[in-house]
């Protein structure tokens, strides 16, 4: 489906996308930074931990070595003590022999010395015996026997012989560590000895051992430790081909890195040595120019620098991987969210689109046909939300449209029927009136024309004229009110008037008869104003009766205008038994008689101004006297139309114009 940028769907989708994108960006940026930081720190810490572990292992092993060395010395000392005690017992035995007299004092001493010359202390180098003066009695080098030994000092600077006697006198026995010449040479060798005096003869017996013997054992163990350390550290994995190494204070390798990881040159060693113990990493250039980070720690007892180093790229790699992975997860989530947003936007917009299609369909529906509910049921009934409410409104609108259009169609039909009937009624009504003009072409004495314009389809005005012998009987009338009642009353009046005109001798008698007929049964008091005239075509004598009608005009041939104001009686139909007088007037050849209904004089313009009798009289007086009756009627109607303008015609308009032209030059009275 096309996504128009202004559609609701697009807007909802874009809004959701923007919100999702913003949230994802903020969360992603924040978490990526945090993750990166913590991943790097974690990696560095793990590398540092390797260093720490190595350092701890070394320190612990060193302490073990040290303890082993001490224990060895202690054990040697204990062994020397036992050995010296045994010697003392033996010496006591020799001295006892002398005391018992089996040997002389001198013999006992000589035999004892001879025995002492032959034995060596267990685990020791040699046995040393000297007297209180420091003269050697037993010594591995026979040349020194009988010589003074006081030239040798212990590590405190005291004479070893003097110190031995001094401490032995004080504590009974003593252990001393001191430098002494080696056997067979004058090289000084560090030694230790257990000194136990044999009081009876003032001899000092000492079991002597070489310190370097003990040290040698410790060194062997240290060498073994280095080997083990080299092996075990070689197995320690430091991220990205990093290495744990040990070098000593002189920069010599103790545990070198594997050949593949040879990133630490003398400059790096110097830097690491300077930064030993720091938490922060030392940065230096490794093999192939790669940037390394390293940490170092110093083990003073061994004068060792334990260092760990790893390529910076390897340290940050896990962070980079994590960030990449997380970014992918975020991107996936965002994509999922956008798909969801699309679905939501579509879900909201789809029913609206369907409603739009439905409304479009409504425009083309034929509402006059049988009602069909075209609203999809799932929209109108299936939804409880605003769209459902809108759909229900649409549906009820559709129902109402069907109902209204149907009733409109019915009303229109009804109105058309009524209008049709009114049209027929109008035809019938107009059919009652004589409409053939010129009306009497065979009678040159008169020129006559009439017109009737109803305000509605049918009206209450009437006119009529007919010849009876040489007289013209004519009537004009106006039923009070308009419409159907007036039309019916008009038809009755016209019929009655014709009958009365034919049967009665005078107009007064005729209208009197019509009045009685009309008034006899007239509950609504309908009435009709009427003017009835009888014109003798020979003489111009005009007899007339006026039952409440507008006074006709006589327009004399010489231009004078007279108004026939005589009233015979009230309008017809209101009251029975009224009397109506007849009046007489004379027309001269060329005179006009103009009859009209109040639709003429009371024709209103838009401002409510009436046309009026005065304007009528003036218009008629100004008319061309040579014109015929039709022209005169048309002139009046045209002037009326000018006056009324755009205003509605308020009343029926009827005009009847009769021109008396004088008696015919040859009479044909007998023939007609």
């Amino acid at each position: 489906m096309r996504l128009a940028i202004h559609s609701l769907k697009a807007r909802i989708f874009l809004a959701l996308a923007a919100i999702l994108g913003l949230v994802a960006c903020v969360v992603m940026a924040h978490s990526l930074l945090a993750v990166r930081e913590s991943a790097i720190v974690a990696e560095q810490r793990s590398v540092q931990n390797v260093l720490r572990m190595a350092e701890l292992a070394i320190r612990s092993e060193y302490h073990t070595l040290l303890a082993g060395k001490v224990a060895l010395v202690q054990e040697r000392k204990a062994r020397f003590r036992e050995f010296d005690r045994v010697i003392l017992q033996t010496l006591a035995h020799y001295q006892n022999l002398a005391t018992q007299g089996q040997l002389s004092e001198q013999e006992a001493r000589t035999q004892a010395l001879a025995w002492l010359q032959k034995i060596r202390p267990v685990g020791g180098e040699y046995l040393l015996v000297f007297d209180r003066d420091g003269v050697a009695l037993v010594y591995p080098e026979p040349a020194l026997l009988g010589t003074q030994l006081s030239g040798y000092t212990d590590f405190k600077g005291r004479s070893v012989v003097a110190a031995a006697w001094d401490e032995a006198d004080r504590y009974g026995e003593t252990v001393l560590i001191y430098d002494w010449k080696a056997v067979g040479s004058n090289r000084l060798v560090q030694r230790y000895g257990h000194f136990l005096p044999f009081r009876p003869w003032n001899w000092m017996v000492a079991s002597v051992g070489r310190v370097d013997e003990v040290q040698g054992e410790a060194d062997a163990r240290l060498a073994q430790f280095r080997t083990e350390l080299a092996r075990s550290l070689g197995q320690v994995e430091v991220s990205g081909n990093g290495a744990v190494v040990i070098f000593d204070g002189q920069g010599q390798w103790v545990v070198p890195p594997a050949a593949a990881n040879d990133d630490i040159d003398p400059r790096a060693k110097t830097a690491l040595r300077a930064a030993a113990g720091n938490r922060d990493a030392v940065h230096f250039q490794g093999r192939d120019g790669r940037v390394m980070q390293g940490w170092a720690t110093y083990v003073r007892a061994l004068d060792w620098y334990v260092a760990v180093a790893a390529p910076e790229a390897a340290l940050t790699a896990p962070a980079r991987n994590l960030v990449t992975r997380q970014a992918l997860v975020f991107a996936g989530g965002l994509l999922l969210g956008l798909l969801l947003a699309w679905a939501v936007a579509s879900g909201i917009a789809r029913p609206l689109v369907r409603l739009g299609q439905y409304a479009k369909g409504l425009a083309g529906a034929d509402f006059s046909a049988a009602p069909v509910q075209s609203m999809p049921a799932d929209l109108a009934d299936g939804r409880q939300d605003e769209i459902g409410a809108l759909a229900r409104s649409f549906a009820s609108m559709e129902t109402a449209l069907y109902r209204n259009v149907r009733s409109l169609v019915e009303i229109t039909g009804e109105r058309e029927r009524i209008e049709g009937e009114l049209g027929v009624a109008r035809d019938i009504q107009l059919g009652l009136l004589p409409k053939m003009f010129p009306a009497f072409p065979e009678r040159p004495e008169i020129d006559l024309h009439a017109t009737l314009v109803s305000a509605r389809e049918i009206g209450g005005d009437l006119y009529d004229f007919f010849l009876t012998g040489d007289t013209l009987n004519f009537t004009i009338g106006d039923v009070a009110g308009k419409g159907v009642p007036a039309a019916l009353f008009m038809a009755i009046t016209k019929t009655l008037m014709k009958a009365a005109g034919e049967s009665c001798t005078t107009p007064g008698a005729a209208v009197c008869q019509v009045n009685d007929h009309l008034a006899r049964d007239n509950p609504n008091l309908m009435f009709v104003t009427a003017f009835n005239g009888v014109l003798d075509l020979h003489t111009g004598e005009l007899q007339f009766a006026n039952a409440g009608h507008n006074p006709p005009l006589i327009l004399r041939a010489d231009g004078r205008c007279e108004i026939l104001r005589n009233i015979s009686g009230p309008a017809l139909g209101a009251f029975e038994d009224m009397e109506y007088a007849s009046f007489t007037e004379y027309l001269q050849p060329g005179d006009w008689l103009l009859l009209y209904t109040d639709g003429v004089t009371e024709a209103m313009d838009a401002a409510g101004q009436l046309y009026g009798e005065t304007r009528l009289a003036q218009l008629m007086a100004a008319c061309d006297t040579r014109g015929n009756a039709e022209q005169r009627v048309n002139t009046l109607m045209a002037d009326l139309a000018t006056h009324v303008g755009a205003a509605d015609q308020s009343d029926d308009i009827t005009v009847l114009a009769i021109r008396y032209l004088g008696a015919a030059t040859h009479t044909d009275k007998e023939e007609t």
Binding site: D478, V479, A480, G481, K482, N524, L525, M526, F527, T529, N546, A547, G548, H549, N550, P551, I567, S568, G569, P570, A571, A574, F575, M578, D598, E602, D651
Partner: protein
């Protein structure tokens, strides 16, 4: 194009004043207000038309009906205060011969009293 009426009751006489225009569209209103006054046998009604500017044939019919009711019920119905143009319509229609007319309200009351 409207008509308004006010009703006063003076002793035994109802005085209805009509003002405005009395034509086909306003005559039903006058009919409604006027004819009930004449329903009672022997009722006396004075219709004051001093404020009435225009009357059409439909309006005349209502007045004729009032006169006829009065006659049938043995009551009296008098018109008074007709303006010249209204009076002219009455005269032209010939109904002045049937209706009782008075120049003013006072004269009308005098007639009804007499």
């Amino acid at each position: 194009m409207a008509i308004s009426t006010t009703l006063e009751t003076l002793a035994d006489t109802s005085l209805l004043r009509a003002s405005g225009r009395l034509d086909g569209s306003t005559s039903p209103q006058l009919e409604k207000n006027l004819l009930p006054l004449l329903a009672e046998p022997g009722s006396k009604v004075l219709l004051d038309l001093a404020e009435l500017d225009y009357v059409s044939s439909a309006g005349l019919r209502i007045i004729l009906m009032a006169a006829k009711r009065a006659k049938q019920a043995g009551g009296r119905f008098v018109l008074c205060g007709l303006q010249p143009q209204v009076s002219e319509v009455f005269e032209m229609s010939g109904f002045t011969r049937i209706l009782e007319l008075a120049a003013s309200v006072d004269e009308g009351r005098g007639r009804l009293a007499g």
